[in-house]
């Protein structure tokens, strides 16, 4: 799971971004609550300090409490539940009955010397300090306390309120705050997602282009890329070019090797013709050479080529006629003169040459070549090569078009050539179909891409 996330750029960036957003939001939440709490406690402290000041006004310079004044002042103090007060003077202790025990607050500053000063120092705010504690019932309380130095001794004045007075507004503020933060988190997450989508789109586009190169639909990737991707695109194109050159070189050397081997193999075959066993082995070597030579040739398809069908097939018909001139054979070709296909001339020669040769070999006396543009699809040309021979049983036909299956086991060992035909057809995105010819014999139907000029010429006719 974690590995999977780390391996996806998208997930990695999303996880990082969401993590950072969450941390930021938690920090913001914490900071806002702290500030809020301080603010609320500040307000509470002001109210408590006012009470302590009221209490202080009942204490005279000798530490005596003016009770009449105290009663007056108590009426002005908050009488809410849980609010308490206490005056701890030497000799007397007055205050709320259930005044709780309180922790000592942080250490007091040394009290300022009162000697020689008139009046009471209770208006000194810095003498007020906070105290935290708990009531008997266990509710936490917050208090403010002040100690007055009097001639009768220290008098401690304390006012307290329940902590819940603080917590309630904080809790009240926290719920909408959290909701707002959650909404913010969702918004940021969404923004990150969209950002990633948009931000990673050039990468996706580049990937599609690379895939198109592999599929043969493109020569190179667009080098007009995002700044960060541009060097990658340039490198990819260089890689693709090198790959292509290396492939072409490999094919060429395979072809050269095969060619170079043929003559010595021919010489050996002559020497070994009286030794059937070794001659058979040599025949296998020869078959392998032929196969790979044809493969090397077939792999180098040029899909942008334009070849006119009629003259090419006419030449092939002449060639096949002469190759089979030892027996009476009629080859009828019917090719519209304006038909052209997007197939390299040599590849067309291989395709039609092999099929014509097969047809001539198995024909009783007649071979037919017909070509026409497809009515349904002007971008396709159908070439049909038929003969009046025995044909191929329907059951064996699928076997025949399977790549790598040689089907000349019955023939004279020269190869049916259909393997190379199917390879080439696949390379040009065409189809090959074997059918019964009307009137007996086999018909091989090729569908090939029409050359651009042909289809546009047909459009013009329409």
């Amino acid at each position: 799971m974690v590995r999977a996330i780390l391996q996806s750029l998208h997930a990695r960036m999303l996880a990082l971004s969401i993590g950072a957003t969450l941390v930021a939001l938690v920090l913001a939440g914490w900071a806002i609550t702290t500030v809020l709490e301080r603010f609320v406690i500040g307000g509470l402290d002001q109210r408590l300090d006012a009470e302590v000041t009221l209490l202080a006004s009942t204490v005279d310079a000798n530490g005596q409490i003016d009770r009449t004044r105290l009663h007056q002042q108590l009426g002005a103090m908050e009488g809410k539940p849980g609010w308490r007060w206490q005056i701890d003077a030497p000799g007397s202790k007055l205050g709320s009955e259930d005044f709780p025990h309180l922790d000592a607050g942080p250490p007091l500053l040394p009290p300022p010397s009162l000697s020689g000063t008139e009046g009471l120092p209770f208006d000194h705010d810095d003498q007020l300090r906070p105290l935290e504690g708990a009531s008997e019932e266990g509710f936490p309380v917050h208090a403010r306390t002040m100690t007055l130095e009097t001639r009768g001794g220290p008098v401690t004045l304390t006012a307290l309120a329940p902590r819940s007075v603080v917590r309630r507004p904080i809790m009240g503020a926290l719920a909408p705050l959290m909701a707002a933060l959650a909404a913010l988190a969702a918004l940021l997450g969404g923004a990150t997602l969209i950002q990633l989508r948009l931000g990673l789109r050039p990468i996706r586009r580049l990937r599609e282009q690379v895939a198109a190169i592999r599929a043969g639909a493109r020569e190179s990737v667009d080098e007009d890329q995002a700044t960060e991707l541009k060097p990658l695109a340039v490198e990819l194109n260089a890689l693709s070019r090198e790959n292509k050159a290396a492939l072409a070189a490999a094919r060429q050397s395979a072809a050269n090797l095969a060619h170079a081997l043929k003559t010595p193999v021919a010489a050996l075959a002559l020497e070994l013709r009286d030794e059937p066993g070794r001659a058979a082995q040599l025949a296998r070597i020869d078959a392998t050479i032929r196969h790979h030579l044809a493969r090397a040739r077939a792999d180098a398809a040029d899909r942008r080529a334009t070849t006119r069908l009629a003259p090419a097939i006419e030449d092939l018909v002449t060639a096949v006629r002469r190759l089979h001139s030892d027996r009476p054979l009629t080859i009828e070709a019917d090719i519209p003169s304006d038909l052209a296909i997007a197939v390299d001339h040599q590849d067309l020669d291989e395709l039609v040459g092999n099929l014509l040769d097969n047809a001539a070999r198995f024909a009783a006396s007649r071979v037919f070549v017909v070509a026409r543009a497809l009515d349904s699809d002007a971008r396709r040309v159908v070439v049909e090569i038929g003969d009046d021979g025995p044909g191929i049983p329907a059951a064996e036909r699928s076997q025949v078009t399977k790549p790598g299956v040689r089907l000349d086991e019955r023939g004279d060992g020269h190869g049916f050539g259909l393997t190379i035909v199917t390879d080439l057809i696949a390379l040009y995105g065409g189809t090959v179909r074997l059918e019964d010819r009307q009137g007996g014999g086999l018909a091989v139907c090729l569908t090939l891409p029409a050359a651009q000029s042909t289809s546009s010429a047909q459009d013009a006719v329409r």
Binding site: T263, P264, L270, R322, Q346
Partner: protein
């Protein structure tokens, strides 16, 4: 029958020549394009076996040179190039047949015999002349249905005569078709061989046309 064999491979050339001689052909072996063009234009051959990849001048150019010089001897291209575009180029240059290496000698011989027969204007592989039969596919002669045993020279002369039966063949022409290029030709030896042939098939069949040459006369 005399064949011009153009093959630059040092092993394959002599091997093919040897095999063809074993089938009674007279063979001139040439190993480069320039000599090939020259030989084809100046000498008389019944057929040529031509490689395409040649030093000096490539096979297709050699063939074009022959055709340009009105040499219409049948030409069989024997090459490692098995692409159909190569075949088309070969035929367009004027080849009559095309065989891809490696090949079976039997096939080469059969194709050569067929080429020579067709060049002489015979559509059928079996040639008759009175009691004499020549199977151009196997190269066998039969006399009254029985196999005729012939030496290579006898075979060369008789096959020439039967291919052009009932026609006069010039002495010089016959000499050229019987002896290889580098052989010491003794014109008297032709008389001797014809004499032996007459003994084998009957003296009346081969006529001497004084001052010109010989004729195989077919009477049934």
């Amino acid at each position: 029958m005399r064949i011009l064999l153009v093959e630059d491979d040092r092993d394959l050339g002599p091997a093919i020549a040897h095999a063809l001689r074993g089938e009674n052909f007279a063979v001139d072996l040439v190993d480069n394009g320039i000599d090939a063009a020259h030989s084809g234009e100046t000498e008389h051959y019944d057929a040529a076996v031509l490689d395409l990849g040649l030093p000096g001048l490539d096979g297709v150019s050699v063939l074009r040179a022959w055709r340009a010089a009105q040499r219409n001897l049948p030409v069989l291209i024997l090459t490692a190039r098995d692409g159909w575009s190569d075949k088309v180029a070969g035929f367009k240059a004027g080849a009559d047949d095309y065989l891809v290496k490696p090949f079976r000698v039997e096939e080469l011989v059969m194709r050569l015999r067929a080429l020579i027969r067709r060049a002489a204007g015979h559509a059928q592989p079996l040639l008759d002349c009175g009691p004499l039969t020549f199977d151009t596919q196997t190269g066998q002669f039969e006399l009254d249905g029985l196999p005729l045993r012939l030496t290579a020279f006898e075979w060369r002369i008789l096959s020439q005569l039967i291919l052009r039966k009932n026609a006069v063949i010039e002495r010089l022409d016959l000499l050229e078709r019987v002896y290889e290029g580098d052989a010491d030709v003794d014109s008297n030896s032709l008389e001797v061989i014809v004499g032996r042939l007459r003994k084998k098939i009957g003296a009346q069949m081969i006529e001497t046309i004084r001052g010109r040459g010989y004729r195989l006369t077919c009477r049934t």
